[in-house]
Symmetry: C2
Subunit: 211 residues, 2 copies
């Protein structure tokens, strides 16, 4: 069981552990020490022990971690097999890329519908999905009960859409818009992907850190 008040940075490292362990499993590695895992991941052994202790430990002194067990436990903690029903709002370039590029199924979610307010997009296909108009969102949410939404819409539209979706039962947002959801909705789960901020952080690095 995860402890209370685990820091955001520890939580953010969990998927990375999960990825590394998946690779070790593929390479048929059975055990790994925190020192070896640290070397692979560019962390320190004590950081790894501290991180994993937040979730109950898992290692054995002098023996290290059983790769497949740790992989499985971290997967459970992340909830990779949960299949939380999820909708995607905004079928522009970015929405299309997310819908086609991301495998939701083994990451805790199941994509069940794609919506856009542009009537011209209605009925067009993204993979197996026919884009629906946002007019039918209410009925869809009532019958299909999605709990998570991917927001691929501009900031200007995101505030109203977030209010609406929360009213319709959405509890978690994967937010690609520049709208800061948490300010007005502190009770929902939000994971922001601010691509514009990310590239500007790179710019800062190039202009300041390199010199």
């Amino acid at each position: 069981m995860p402890k209370e008040n685990i820091s955001a940075s520890v939580i953010k490292r969990l998927p990375r552990y999960y990825r590394f362990l998946a690779e070790l499993k593929k390479q048929n590695v059975l055990h790994i020490s925190s020192r070896q895992l640290a070397e692979n991941m560019g962390l320190t052994a004590s950081q790894i022990r501290h991180d994993l202790n937040c979730f109950g430990g898992f290692g054995q002194q002098g023996y290290g971690y059983v790769v497949s067990d740790l992989y499985c436990e971290i997967g459970k903690i992340i909830g990779v097999n949960q299949c939380n029903p999820t909708i995607l709002i905004g079928a522009g370039n970015l929405g299309k890329a997310i819908a086609s590029h991301i495998n939701f199924d083994n990451k805790g979610f199941k994509l069940i519908g794609i919506f856009d307010s542009d009537t011209n997009l209605k009925g067009k296909k993204i993979g197996e999905f026919e884009i629906m108009h946002t007019d039918v969102l209410k009925d869809f949410c009532k019958s299909e009960k999605p709990v998570a939404a991917v927001l691929c819409i501009p900031k200007a539209a995101a505030a109203d859409m977030a209010d609406t979706l929360i009213e319709y039962g959405i509890q978690a947002f994967w937010n690609f818009s520049h709208y800061d959801l948490k300010i007005n909705h502190s009770d929902v789960i939000v994971e922001n992907v601010h691509l514009g901020d990310s590239i500007m952080t790179l710019s800062y690095g190039l202009n300041n850190i390199r010199k």
Copy 2:
């Protein structure tokens, strides 16, 4: 001038300040106190003062910040007008979305070429760009001297590609692959966008924080 050793979390907040100030400018707000800015951004006033002090202050006691000055100064610190020549590697769904969705120009970069190793994509267009084959990457880098690269390729291809690009003069990576560049190349500037990790962090939140 930025101080030495500014923490990553302060740096990551800079683009967010920049975004908020852009909006305040649009709304013709001339001055703002750290308290007001904090309320708008969901931070504390002391956090804002601490952050901005890392870069030299800018505020006046009892008067706050001049919005347009602060906007301009933060823009300079980020380097938004630098136009660093940039190439994008990997013209799949994600690469296409990044190339069409992101305005590089006002974020410190100038996209100058898109490459893919798939010969079938050669000559196809993304916006104004014709996709080039990675065969011509060396000559292109020699003549056009890009300093940054966007990696939209799978992890398996990313390690070799990163080595090659660094050899060709690339100093900064916007990395969408799951390859951990920093482990083998501690000297380059890397900004990772691990979409798979991000959605798993959301899954963790939905499965642990909500309950």
